[in-house]
Amino acid sequence: MLEITALSRTYGNVRALEAVSLSVAPGEFVGVIGRSGAGKSTLLRLINRLVEPSSGEISFNGETVSALSGRELRDWRRRCAMIFQQFNLIDRLSVLDNVLVGRVAMLPRWRSWTMAWPVADRVVAIEALERLGISEHALKRADQLSGGQQQRVAIARALVQEPQLILADEPVASLDPHSTRTVMDSLARINREDGLTVLCNLHHLDLAREYCRRVIGVAAGRVVFDGPIEALDAATIRMIYGEDEA
């Protein structure tokens, strides 16, 4: 159970996120929708602690994660895996090594420095790649893959972190329609088969309609809607996306 209470973040005098409270039950697939700059990214980054909250609290299964530091913070980051719009892979490393980056928090430091990954971890990584249908590219450099393939490498990296929560920040915004489908289907399957909680930022309402049972609408840093997708009516959509786009 992820619980967020009165979470705010300001940049100078810009309020990116203001007094957001919500809770997510285990196994949910939640879509976060809103315009660019509404605060969706900030929300996900706050949960992973890539961004520090200005005020408010985040807790997971009763543990306050917004106050963690050092090793405990790094373990929390491992437990809530991030997936980014621009994939954020290391171009000059092989696909396999990129996936094994997801194991850093579990392995001793010298393993990372020498990149001498244990066989057991390599097996986990290859299994993840196979599951996403890209194991034949395992030894290629990450930048040789197409966008859709790179995003699936990023999902594999997230999977080998053995997370309890997946935070996907616009995972399909830079992909073509076909890759969009593969990536969203992968996320849905992981959610279904592994029971992982998924929080997914999406621009497009159509994708949210198709994949999420519950959506959270964010506008100007505030949660303006939180409920089942069927309850989204035209007035709410106008409120989330603004008059001009309704």
Binding site: V123, E127, L129, E130, R131, D169, E170
Partner: protein, 297 residues
């Protein structure tokens, strides 16, 4: 599950094959490195016993040049130590000026030649090779040799120092700048070319904005190094504090040696702090551009 274990076997086998291919190269490289280190230690007559027996003498020289400062009469002692302060400060100022002028001139030469020296600017192989070999020549000739030549031609004084450091700076910065030029993406250049820009305008509008922060950073670093160079180059009579330092060293005026060295350290520290501040300002302005849209993806 069999297709999963197939995949594991396949990837692991490919990985082993890849490691076998690169393994002997790594081994060869490591072996060559070890041989080279051994050879240079031998040829350079690096010996631990010599190092350890020599250490006390090193300490003795330092103790000899240190001034007698006692806490009770600190003011008077400092005044005695720094007896020639106005003259030394003037010489230090000359030194910083030599470094400044030669950094600016060297950077200008390097800037304009760094574009033909980069392989991705479409200048053709001949001009690229010419520019690169020219930079190489400027780098390879030691500053002291340039300085000696210029002292011979133009006489004692700062001019020889300025010219020598300018040339060396142009060589070093030119190489760095041309390599920075080669890291930029062609995609953004296409945007300018497609609008019908000539090559110089592609460079000005497409390349320069991308490379400017790195250029400034390296120029500032070079300025710091040049302050040091400018004080050393005075040793051959090319002006600045180095000329005075050489004089007091040769005359065995021990306390003046430490006074000048102390002033030099302070000067270099000030230059470091100032250029660090400038560099941080530049980096900070870059970052603030990036975070101007904080809550966007």
């Amino acid at each position: 599950m069999t297709h999963v274990s197939d995949a594991i076997g396949r990837v692991e086998a490919a990985r082993r094959a890849q490691m076998r291919r690169t393994g002997w190269k790594t081994l060869l490289f490591g072996g060559a490195l070890a041989v080279l280190i051994g050879l240079s230690l031998h040829q350079g007559e690096v010996s631990w016993t010599k190092f350890i027996t020599g250490l006390p003498r090193f300490g003795a020289y330092i103790i000899r040049i240190l001034p007698d400062l006692s806490f009770a009469t600190l003011g008077a002692d400092l005044q005695g130590w720094m007896w020639n302060l106005p003259n030394w400060l003037k010489l230090l100022f000359d030194t910083v000026l030599i470094a400044f002028v030669s950094t600016v001139m060297g950077a200008i030469i390097a800037f304009f030649l760094s574009f033909p020296a980069a392989r991705n600017m479409g200048f053709g192989r001949v001009s690229t090779q010419l520019a690169r070999r020219f930079f190489e020549f400027l780098r390879t000739v030691p500053e002291l040799v340039f300085a000696l030549l210029f002292v011979f031609a133009f006489g004692l004084g700062p001019m020889a120092g300025v010219l020598a450091i300018t040339l060396h700076t142009a060589g070093v910065l030119g190489k760095m700048m041309s390599e920075i030029n080669e890291t930029i993406t062609d995609r953004s250049l296409e945007g300018v070319i497609a609008a019908g820009a000539s090559r110089d305008r592609v460079i000005r509008l497409g390349v320069v904005p991308q490379v400017a922060p790195a250029f400034v950073s390296y120029i500032l670093l070079r300025f710091e190094i040049n302050v040091r160079s400018a004080s050393v180059i005075g040793l051959v009579g090319a002006g600045g504090i180095g000329q005075e330092l050489m004089f007091v060293i040769n005359q065995f005026i021990y306390r003046d040696i430490s006074a000048i060295l102390a002033l030099l350290i302070v000067t270099v520290a000030i230059v470091d702090i100032v250029s660090e501040t400038i560099r941080h300002r530049i980096i900070a302005s870059e970052v603030s551009h990036a975070s101007a849209t904080p809550s966007a993806h």
